[in-house]
């Protein structure tokens, strides 16, 4: 890790050296600085950065210029002015690649662009030199900040440093899962109706296993979710363990209104049928089975069959974990599901600033039935308010839990006061 950052930082030093050396050879040279670092985080994944850098590959190979991949992700390309057109088309390609990023909302033809800055070495040499120096300083301070943070957070697990799951580790995880006591890893979170500023009214509660806690308990140095397919397989195992836990006769969980997140293949297993045996006939209608969209589209025929089976048994289906973006492609009606759960993200609030976008979002929600939508991961009041302004009434998340706890506390206080009063009388 330390080595990698040192190497990255030295790209800034190399750039500075290179620019200094060009002082005597400014003629016929230009540079372009591509501000990848200013893109939205979603657009700055490693693969995007690699693709962006690759755009210049042929130019580098044909000795048209020199590319510097800076430690913040920015690209600096210094090239012979004669290949300016080729460089421009590389930039057009890049712009196309990141077209949906707000940074690129500027008009392409305009001189001033937030996405890239152009330099003519003859005209702007000093500006470029200054820029290179600033980049070195920034990189150095970033490095030292990183080192500091590392010192302070030594005990905080860093996702990046965790190993991805491999088949061999998966086997170990499965063995561990078979023995682990899941009951203390199962969390409960309420889905509540919230209207206006009134306290949350619990409708049902989701039972789930906290994957982070599970990981810390059984295999702390492994990133369980990075290999998506192996992770999905692990959740198959997890599902069966959770179901058999819920099916224990001494557990009264099944008497209440709950939702459980399960894989589609789990719905056809013996464990699910045993779970179903333990669910009282009248309660089934209030049990919600939450399914992942990935799982649904993995095999639509299998989904169709499982959906019909659980509907026949009396359960309801909620499509879980949708982003607002995903909602454009997932329609409740088409999939024959009963509910949808969208995860709150700040991008939703951003959309609400624009009346046109708000209308689009509203139409999308309405099409799916406002009363059938849960807004999940609401950790702030802002999330609830944004959801409410869109007409959503069902919410889930930390903020909802806090509101619920608050309300219960108030009720208890209320009760005590009442008793106090009666005592006085």
């Amino acid at each position: 890790m330390a080595d990698a950052t040192t190497t990255l930082a030295s790209q800034e030093n190399l750039l500075l050296e290179y620019v200094q050396r060009l002082e005597e050879h400014r003629r016929g040279r230009s540079a372009v600085h591509v501000h990848i670092a200013n893109l939205h985080a979603n657009n700055r994944r490693e693969s995007h950065m690699r693709m962006a850098a690759n755009t210049f590959e042929s130019l580098v190979k044909s000795l048209q210029g020199q590319l510097f991949v800076l430690s913040n992700g920015d690209l600096m390309f210094i090239f012979k002015t004669e290949s300016e057109d080729l460089v421009h088309s590389a930039i057009v390609k890049l712009r196309f690649m990141f077209a949906d990023d707000p940074l690129l909302d500027d008009v392409m033809e305009s001189e001033e662009s937030a996405f890239e800055s152009w330099y003519s070495m003859e005209r702007d040499f000093d500006k470029l030199l200054q820029n290179a120096k600033t980049l070195v300083e920034e990189a150095t301070s970033r490095l030292s900040q990183q080192a500091q943070r590392k010192r302070f957070q030594e005990n905080k697990p860093q996702v990046r440093r965790k190993e991805p799951l491999t088949p061999a580790m998966l086997r170990r995880v499965e063995h561990a899962l078979a023995q682990a006591d899941l009951s203390n890893l199962v969390r409960r979170q309420s889905i509540c109706a919230i209207v206006g500023r009134s306290p949350p009214q619990p409708i049902f509660s989701e039972l789930f296993v906290s994957i982070a806690d599970l990981r810390d308990t059984i295999i702390p140095n492994v990133d369980l979710t990075r290999d998506r397919w192996l992770f999905q397989h692990m959740t198959d195992t997890l599902d069966r363990r959770v179901l058999s836990m819920l099916s224990k006769h001494d557990d009264r969980t099944l008497d209440s209104d709950i939702s459980v997140n399960l894989n589609i293949s789990t719905l056809l297993t013996q464990e699910f049928l045993k779970f179903d045996d333990n669910v009282k006939a009248g309660v089934r209608g209030s049990i919600v089975l939450e399914l992942q969209v990935l799982d649904i589209f993995a095999d639509l025929s299998a989904y169709q069959f499982a959906r019909d089976v659980v509907h026949e048994l009396g359960y309801r289906i909620c499509i879980d974990g949708l982003s607002l973006h995903a909602l454009e492609y997932v329609e409740r009606d088409r999939l024959g599901a009963d509910m949808l759960k969208i995860f709150w993200e700040p991008a939703i609030a951003e959309k609400l600033n624009d009346p046109d976008e708000t209308a689009v979002v509203q139409a999308m929600l309405k099409k799916n039935g406002l009363s059938r939508i849960v807004l999940g991961r609401c950790d702030t009041r802002e999330a609830i308010e944004a959801g409410q302004s869109l007409g959503i009434t069902l919410f889930q998340g930390r903020f909802v839990e806090e509101g619920l706890a608050d309300d219960q506390r108030k009720r208890r206080v209320g009760t005590v006061l009442l008793i106090d009063k009666s005592d006085k009388i």
Binding site: W229, D277, F297, Y329, R334
Partner: protein, 465 residues
Amino acid sequence: MKGPTNKLPPSAKEMFTTAAVVTPESLLLDVVERLGRIRHGWVAAQVHLSQLKPQNRQEAHLRIAMRMFDPLVSGYRCQVFLMTDSDIIIIGRDVPMVDLDSAVFRLRALFDKDPLTYTEGEDGHDPFATFYHLEDDYDYFLQEAERLRAVVEARKRNPNLQAKPEPKPLNSELLIGIMAALNDVDMLKYLQRQAAIQVVSSNHARVILQEYFLSMQDLRRDVAPDVDLFTNRWLFLHFTQGADRRSLVALQNVVKVSKPPVISLNLNLSTLETPEFAAFEKGLLPGQTLNIEVQLIDVFADLKGFFKTRDALRAKGYKVILDGMMPSTLHFTDISKLGMDYIKVMWSPELIDPHHPTKGREPKDIIAELGPMKFILTRCDSEASIRWGLSMGILAYQGHLIDTMVTLTTMAACPDQANCTAQQCSSRRNAAGGAGRLGCTNFAGLDSFPEISLDLLTKRISKKA
């Protein structure tokens, strides 16, 4: 709690291996024989699940099917038997016919995508289920029970008909060994290619792409001979990621030699970020371009990532194809929003069944809406498939029938045609490279993208018929 139906009875295969005498068939016959004297009020139903398509009668399906009769077991003490061939037989006394009927009806609804539930029997009989009032139909029912047992007994006696040992289901333990074995095989052996054509005039078609793919069955035979590689979806997908990378390495030389202008590859999206893919791209000859075929699951596993990748591929001039759709699954999402260059839809014969539930309506509308030019009908193995495709306005086709057309055209134009049979030519054409192509004396012809005369095919087919 709910009686015997909660557990699947041991399958016949298990019984053979333990050399047990008891089979579900012998149990059934026993019960039926005892009913001979007390037929009054007894009813039975036989649900012919054995006639479902194999993909619809997996263990999980049968488990659910048995479950549908639980109310009859708890309410009327019915007995339910799962036969070796997957048929289900329910027997009970004083069961209101309406209850028995509604249980069968609910089961039928679950399998409503299978032709068994919507096709009519030749003699007017319902091919999905047969009902017996034992008072009147006892003899027929006894006959059926005897027949079922005789079949199983015969199979037991005939060693050739005995079931082979079941392949082990894939698990993480087995996967470790399989992933290692993958590194030791010569992938070239398993790589195949198949062309897709597009009809360009009333009697001509041209090849629009050459798809390279792994013959998974052949690969499985060598790396996991006793394992069922395919039913565990997630572990299989992990396996394909490894297989993708190894295939790309092997393909690098193949496409340099055979020089297809349009190479279609069915890859995991994650493979596009591997060094193997980068190296493959780098090795492409000038003028060669790629089609990347993606599965819907990969699209929905990371929508944002998919769009980014799609745009990056497009920026390089590649085309993006949505693979693996069925006409019956086209309506689940608005595919037009995914912005694919092509959509591959699988042909299956029940599409032209007059009782097919989605016939003519949704697929046709969706295809028309998206533009038939965007579709490639795959698995075309009959003239009927092409006819159906043409009726939808689809002009691009892929499948064994198309392979035959391409082979016939290749042979017709080959100066050495007298040396080979059509079958030899076809299997050499299908091999991506390596030993599978040996014997051909005209590689240029073998790798050509010929213009195809549709007349040629019609003549051959009618001659065969």
